[in-house]
């Protein structure tokens, strides 16, 4: 165990969110009612996804510079965990939408943008499973990952803000301003985001580390040699 503190911190922050998110007072608003509390759980899923994809982006570029297969493992598993959180974000968003906007799916620009972003990342997995050669797979998927991340930014941050949307913070509305006015909501939401990001990174590292062990065992000569030089 290299360092525990940030994992425990992540769990404490997320645990506090579950308790505080349900018990602390929220503004009384029509239509939203108590579902306003979903903000503490639905939105951090997306923040976590963005951070995990950013990590994958970083390691993809690093792989293209170093050609070290360990960087490829980091990029792949950060992407997979990011996809996992995007699925959670999409499902929780649809559940919330059903009871506030009336439909599971209302072709909201942000729903469409994130769905397209998810499809781009699903294709990453398909692309990888289609290439047998390790080096080739790593190189092509690293290039693809850089493009996928570059596509995510306009799809999630720019395009939904340019048109009218059911989501707050779009169609000219300043993001979160409506909710952020309430100090109790800020007390929970600003804790939920880093809490879930830490949990997401932790889950990703749990997937990365066994893969690293396997890789280093398979290429024992190479990595032992590397260690001896150091």
């Amino acid at each position: 165990m290299r360092s525990w503190w940030w994992k425990i911190l992540g769990a404490v922050l997320t645990g506090y969110t579950i308790v505080g998110g349900l018990l602390l007072p929220v503004p009384h608003l029509d239509i939203l009612n108590e579902t306003i509390r979903n903000l503490y759980f639905h939105v951090p899923m997306w923040f976590t996804m963005i951070v995990l994809f950013a990590c994958a982006f970083y390691y993809s570029i690093k792989y293209l510079r170093t050609s070290d297969l360990r960087d490829d493992i980091f990029a792949t598993q950060y992407t997979n965990t990011g996809i996992f959180f995007s699925i959670l974000g999409m499902l929780t968003g649809m559940e919330w939408a059903k009871f506030t906007w009336g439909e599971w799916w209302s072709n909201d620009p942000k729903q469409l943008g994130t769905a397209m972003c998810m499809l781009i990342y699903f294709a990453y997995g398909i692309l990888r499973s289609g290439i047998k050669d390790e080096e080739k797979r790593a190189k092509i998927s690293a290039v693809y990952n850089v493009f996928a991340f570059a596509m995510m930014i306009p799809l999630i941050f720019i395009l939904p803000r340019m048109v009218d949307s059911l989501h707050p913070g779009n169609g000219g509305n300043p993001a979160f301003a409506k909710y952020d006015l309430d100090k109790y909501m800020r007390m929970v939401f600003y804790v939920a985001v880093p809490g879930w990001i830490l949990m997401g990174v932790w889950i990703a590292t749990l997937k990365i580390r066994p893969e690293l062990v396997i890789l280093e065992k398979e290429n024992a000569d190479l990595y032992d040699f590397e260690k001896n030089i150091k």
Binding site: M1, K7, A11, T14, G15, I18, V19, L22, L23, V26, H28, L29, D30, I31, L32, N33, E34, W202, I203, L206, R209, P210, V213, E216, K217
Partner: protein
């Protein structure tokens, strides 16, 4: 006829007051104290997931040491 009109006006009044009333929140549930049960259940589930992640993490650490 007049009776019907009166009834309609009354109904309209009732509905408008309902619309303008405070948005419905789960305040009664909170005052009953039962919400703490939900919080406890969710906290238990989360604690379980945390414990599982810790176990997994330790197992992986052991494998990393033994290789």
């Amino acid at each position: 006829m007049a009776k019907n009109t009166l009834a309609t006006v009354f109904l309209l009044l009732v509905t408008t007051t309902l619309v303008h009333a405070e948005p419905e929140m789960a305040d009664t549930m909170r005052s009953n104290g039962k919400i703490y049960v939900v919080v406890a259940v969710l906290a238990t589930i989360f604690a379980g997931i945390f414990a599982y992640l810790v176990m997994l993490d330790r197992k992986i650490s052991k494998i990393e040491k033994n290789k």
